[in-house]
Each structure stands twice: as C-alpha cells, then as structure tokens.
C-alpha cells in the first residue's frame, strides 16, 4: 500500500505486521492492535477538543463583532492550552454529603460515552474502528449512556439546583431522542442496513440529505437538542440560572464535562456528515483514501459551523415551546415521514433510480410544507385565543400595577 495515498491505513498495516513479527499469537495481535487503536483515537479526539474550543470561541466572537481570543499565541491559538493548564491546577472541591462514587463516576462516564461513539464511525475507506452490523443502533444506545452521567452528577452532588438541572436536562434528552431515532430510521430504510459503513456505501450515487431532506432536518434539530446547544440551551441557561447539573464540580472534573460537551457537539456533526452527507465519499476518495478523511472533516466542519451559527444567532426556547416542538411537530412528522417513505419506496421499486429519488424528495417536501401550514394555522388560532382574552378582561400590565409613581 502506498504511504502517500493512505498514510493512516499504511501505519495500521505496518503496526499489525510488526506485532505479528514479534511472534505473538494472532488473537493477541488483534487485541493489542485494537487496544492501541482505541487509545490513539480517544487521545486524538480529546486533544482535538483544544482546537475546537478555540475555533468556536473565535467564530462566536466574529458573530458578535469581537475578536475572540487573541492574546496567547498566534491568533490566540494557545488560549485553550492556557485554560487547560489553569484547570489542571485548580482544587477539587467535594461538597459535604455528596455521594462520592456517583460524584466521581459522572465526569468519566460523560467523556467515555462520547468517545465510544467514535468506535463505529468510518473515518475513511480503510480506517474504521469496528464495522458493527448494528452500528447506528449502537450510536443511539451509547448516546443514552451520557444521560446516565448527567443524572449521576445531579444526584451525587447533594445540591438541589444540580438535581433540578439534571431533571431538566434528562427530560429534554429523553424527549428529543424519540425524533432522533425515528429520523435516523429513514437512512436505515434507504440503505437497507444498520451498519454505518453500509450507510456510507449506500450513498455512492446520491447523498441521503438530497433524498430525504425532511429526515435530515429533523435529525439535525434533534441532535442540536441532544448536545444542549442554543436554542436548546435552557439546560445551561447561563444568563438566567446557576448553570445546571455540573454546578458543584470544580477543577478537572468540571473540565471533563466541558470536554464532553464540546466533543459531543463535534461528534454529532460527524454523525450527521456520515449518515446524511455521504461520510468520506467524494471524488477520488476510493483511490486515495486519505482524501476521504479530508472530505469527511470538511463536511463535518460545515455542519459544525452551522451549529455554531445557530448558537451565535438564535435566542433561547422556553421549556414549553421546546417540548411542543418535540412532541407536537417533530415526532408526528418523523412518524408520518417513515410511513410515507416506505410507501413511496414500495410503489417506485421497479422504476429507475432517478424517479425513485424524485418520489422521495417530493414526499419529503410535501410533508414539510404540510407541517409548515399546520404550524401556521395553530399559531393563528393561538393568537386569536390570546386576543379574545385581551378584549374580554383588561390585562394588568406591569406599568399599571407598579407604575413609576408608586
């Protein structure tokens, strides 16, 4: 294998060959190679967060007409390193009455749950941790483990604000998992497999975001809610509340939650790019596998950029609005979408692929337009009800109740 065309795959092959050359049995070679791969991938992903934090702060700064970090190193690149060193030296404070086991387990579990997601994602044609035949299900199941860490953190800190924050967070995560799973079923139906590698391979002709734009939209919204980014950041709500589940954490234990949050945000972008944007696919990616890795990173950064744009521009939801969006719009829409896609796929089974794709796109756009109309009607009705209350009885506004003269 050529080193220049596929450096990562080349190194992996060389390493496995070297291990086998030491005279170890084949089973042990496999175990050691996988363990090393996991170690390298996890360390690389966690170090990558240093760059992500800088990137996000810089972008948010630009959106808000600031410079962002610009003092430490060129363009402020070393700012996260300085912050990291600072957080290493801080004192660990364990609150009185905290459940030590749960309190200390939570940050580890939070990072581990995110790192586990990387184990089934194909990074290029030749580099993939494990090709599970239930890969997509694995992604969702492991994502659920993260919720456990937030509960443990909230409960273990012996603080009622942390507990309330954990309740709010887990309520949001469990709710948005429903449309997330349902919309992820659409690519599974189109690819005919649960394996992530298989889903990437099935997008050879056309990306799934083109075939199923509605599913991609639901998946994107639900994954933003899963990572608790604005406009779904009412679990943190820095400007209104005292943080949330992680209020009692200090030093590196807080840092672990911080790393988990940033890495999760990047990882869901990676999952979106893999499932809907064709993963490592691109011109020439099969002949030169390293190009596939570059394509995947480009796609991921485009998705990540959009989530940061959301974070920098959209105001926060109220909790009832957030729940309404999930249970009254996204969940019914994704259920209807699955049924409509199945029917459209069944009816156009014998047609050429072009007409199949057209049918899928038509179904998606129709459902999106219908949802939009229904939401508009509901809003108009609500406005009418509010108006009726307004004319029926005079509303006490703050100015009449506590006027300036009082």
């Amino acid at each position: 294998m050529d080193f220049l065309r596929d450096p990562i795959g080349f190194v992996i092959q060389w390493y496995v060959g070297w291990l086998a050359g030491l005279g170890l049995p084949a089973v042990w070679v496999d175990v050691i190679a996988k363990l090393t791969g996991a170690l390298v991938l996890a360390t690389g992903a966690m170090l990558f967060v240093v760059f992500l934090i800088w990137y996000e702060r810089k972008l948010i700064g630009r959106i808000q007409d600031r410079f962002g970090p610009n003092r430490v190193g060129p363009w402020g690149l070393l700012q996260p390193v300085a912050d990291m060193l600072k957080i290493f030296t801080k004192e660990y404070i364990t609150p009185i009455g905290a459940d030590k086991f749960a309190y200390n387990l939570a940050p580890i579990l939070a990072v581990a749950a995110v790192l586990l997601l990387w184990s089934v994602l194909p990074l290029s044609m030749t580099v993939v941790g494990t090709d599970l035949n239930v890969g997509l299900l694995f992604l969702i199941a492991v994502g659920g483990l993260g919720e456990m860490s937030y509960i443990l953190a909230g409960w273990g800190s012996n603080n009622k604000y942390a507990l309330l924050g954990a309740f709010r967070l887990v309520a949001q995560l469990i709710s948005y998992e429903v449309p997330l799973v349902l919309s992820a079923l659409v690519p599974v139906m189109l690819a005919g497999t649960l394996s992530v590698t298989g889903i990437v391979e099935a997008q050879e002709g056309v990306w799934f975001i083109v075939v199923a734009p509605a599913a991609a939209l639901i998946f994107f919204i639900a994954s933003i809610a899963e990572i608790g980014r604005s406009p779904f950041d009412l679990i943190e709500a820095e400007s209104e509340l005292v943080a949330g589940y992680n209020i009692e954490y200090s030093g590196l234990k807080f840092g672990m939650f911080f790393v988990a949050e940033f890495l999760h945000a990047f990882t869901v972008s990676l999952i979106f790019a893999t499932v809907f944007l064709g993963g490592w696919r691109g011109p020439g990616a099969e002949e030169i596998p390293i190009l596939g890795f570059v394509y995947l990173m480009l796609k991921t950064f485009v998705v990540y950029f959009v989530t940061i744009l959301f974070r920098g521009t959209l105001p926060r939801f109220r909790i009832d609005q957030m729940m309404n969006l999930n249970w009254k719009v996204l969940t019914p829409l994704s259920l209807a979408l699955i049924m409509a896609m199945a029917i459209a796929g069944g009816l156009t089974r014998d047609l050429p692929i072009f007409w199949q794709v057209m049918a899928f796109v038509l179904v998606n756009l129709l459902l999106l337009a219908l949802t939009d109309q229904i939401m508009k009607i509901a809003r108009r009705k609500k406005a009418k009800v509010n108006l009726a209350i307004g004319t029926g009885q005079p509303i006490l506004t703050s100015s009449t109740k506590h006027g300036t003269g009082e």
Binding site: A102, N133, G144, L145
Partner: protein, 174 residues
C-alpha cells in the same frame, strides 16, 4: 479455556455479583446503579453469543430507558429510601427453600422442553444474523403472531398511559 470463555465467565460473575448487590445495597440509588451494571453484564453475554443486535438493544432499552426511569424515580425519593435496619428477614430460611424449589421446578420443566436440547443450526457465513432475525419476525412460518401480539400489548399500554395521564374536562369543571 479460550478467550471467549474467559470473557463469558467474567461477565457472568460480574452480573451475578452486581445482581446480588442490587438487593443488598443500602441506598436505593446504589441499588439502581448496580442494576445498570447487571444489565451491562447481560449485554456482554449477548456479545459473546455473537448476537450484537440483542446486546445493543439490551443497552438501548434497559440501560438507556428503563434504568434511567428507575433512577429518575429514585432521585425524587432521596433520603426517604435509605435503609438502616437489619437486612435479613427473620424467615429467610423458608424464603430460601421456596426459591430453591422454584428454581429446580423451572429448570426441570425447561429440561423437558424439546427446544432446550435441540442443536442450534449454524448460519452460513455470508448470512447477516440481523437480516435473518428481521425476516423471522415478520414471516408467517416464523414469529409473526407473537410479534404482532406484543405490538398490540404495547399499543394498549400506550393508550392506557394516555388515558390515565389526560386531565378530563368534566373533572376540572366540577
């Protein structure tokens, strides 16, 4: 003993030990966490049986949903659910006898069942066991009837939950 057997033994020991801890832990929260470990151990056993689908569904449903709901309800009852008294009931000998008898009866009847001793058919290497499972669940020769019955049961449970949770207008008016 090969590696697979070692993993199986380890997973079985961990799940049995944590299952014992579920009933003997003094704090409800710790019992719930031990339960999570037990369920994870069962998932590992599914993996050693090459049934990755069941392993992932075990984590998705039992750890991701049911254990989280249990922990959710335990969190609401902090301090109330702590046990300080003696953990062994006075009549534990009778209980142990009943448990042993029940276990013997269950194993005895299972041994009589012909599926218990039937040899498993190995799938051809190119077959996807997930695909075979999916086909078996919807084929009339397979498990379509139990599958549909379970679905009806779940729908009934859903409707029941909604009926309980909905606040009726006449009650509110009165």
């Amino acid at each position: 003993m090969n590696g697979l057997q070692a993993v199986f033994l380890l997973a079985a020991l961990v799940s049995l030990f944590s299952a014992a801890m579920v009933v003997s832990a003094r704090r409800m929260m710790h019992a719930a966490l031990w339960l999570v470990l037990t369920l994870m151990g069962v998932a590992v056993i599914f993996v050693t049986l090459q049934s990755s689908f069941f392993a992932v569904v075990q984590i998705l449903v039992y750890v991701g949903a049911i254990a989280i709901l249990i922990i959710f309800s335990v969190m609401l009852t902090r301090r109330v659910m702590e046990d300080h008294g003696d953990q062994i009931l006075p009549g534990w000998r009778g209980a142990a006898l009943v448990v042993v008898l029940l276990f013997a009866v269950l194993v005895g009847f299972l041994a009589l069942w012909q599926g218990f001793t039937a040899l498993l058919v190995e799938l051809p290497p190119e077959a996807d066991n997930l695909l075979e499972l999916g086909k078996a669940l919807v084929s009339p020769q397979g498990y379509v009837l139990p599958f549909e019955l379970a679905s009806v049961l779940l729908v009934a449970a859903l409707i029941g939950a909604i009926t309980i949770a909905v606040d009726r207008k006449e009650e509110r008016g009165g």
